[in-house]
Amino acid sequence: MKAYLTRRYHFSASHRLNNSKLSVEENRRTYGKCNNPHGHGHNYALEVTVSGPVDPETGMVCNLVDLDGFVQREILERYGHANLNTLAEFSQQVPTTENLCAAVYSRLHKDFRLATVEKIRMEETMMNSFEYAGGRELRH
């Protein structure tokens, strides 16, 4: 029996949306208030969905302790209370939540081996959320 398990995490980070290839005026026009040179921050909520057969011995898709430990170590410690613009993955990329989703998904997808990473969903604010499944279509 294949089931999908979703776990929700929280972290806060700051960023500034600015593309060095664009002029000052273009950056201001494209990113608006998010282009403020001093940056700003969000309380992000991250949902990680993994799937797999339910182990008949444990009743689990994967042990939550392992998923929580991985996300804590690889994601929350990296992004929590960080300035995203200072991180290697955003040295050439604007730290929009779209790009942040792709970075988080790729880290999970590459190294979490205890279940299939299906997708992630990221809330930047209560009004905005983004989902990414490595480019695959999402199921409802």
Binding site: K2, G59, V61
Partner: protein
């Protein structure tokens, strides 16, 4: 195709223990959930059905029938129960949210003649939920 979701709440207690494992393995694998005196959750259930909209009624499903079936087959059996001790599916299965979502699917799927079940989503807490789509 239109999808319709109905929510319901129930509260239940459980603990995780596999008699095939040693006491030490049970503690290591299940952690605090292995406490033999049990603990409980306020579960939030979302049942999604799908179908074409009936031209006469404008419904995918008669909500009252869906609600009654959910109450009869799921809520009455699980609400304010000890899952390990009072729900037959868990006599020989660990009552994790994964297994509970599958049990709810099976209970509903055999009784819902009025629409096709699409998904059972079960929140164990606000930060943890399981989806089951009836996949083998």
């Amino acid at each position: 195709m239109v999808y319709l979701t109905r929510k319901a709440e129930f509260s239940a207690s459980h603990y995780y223990h596999n008699p095939k494992f040693s006491a030490e393995e049970n503690r290591r694998i299940f952690g605090k959930c292995n406490n033999p005196n049990g603990h409980g959750h306020n579960y939030l259930l979302e049942v999604t059905v799908k179908g074409e909209v009936d031209a006469r009624s404008g419904f995918v499903v008669d909500l009252k029938e869906l609600k009654d079936t959910m109450n009869r087959e799921v809520i009455e059996a699980l609400d304010h129960r000890h899952l390990n001790k009072e729900v037959p599916e868990f006599a020989d299965q660990i009552p994790t949210s994964e297994n509970l979502a599958i049990a709810i699917w099976n209970r509903l799927n055999s009784k819902l003649n009025i629409a096709r079940l699409h998904r059972v989503r079960l929140y164990e807490t606000a930060d943890l939920f399981v989806d089951f789509y009836g996949e083998a």
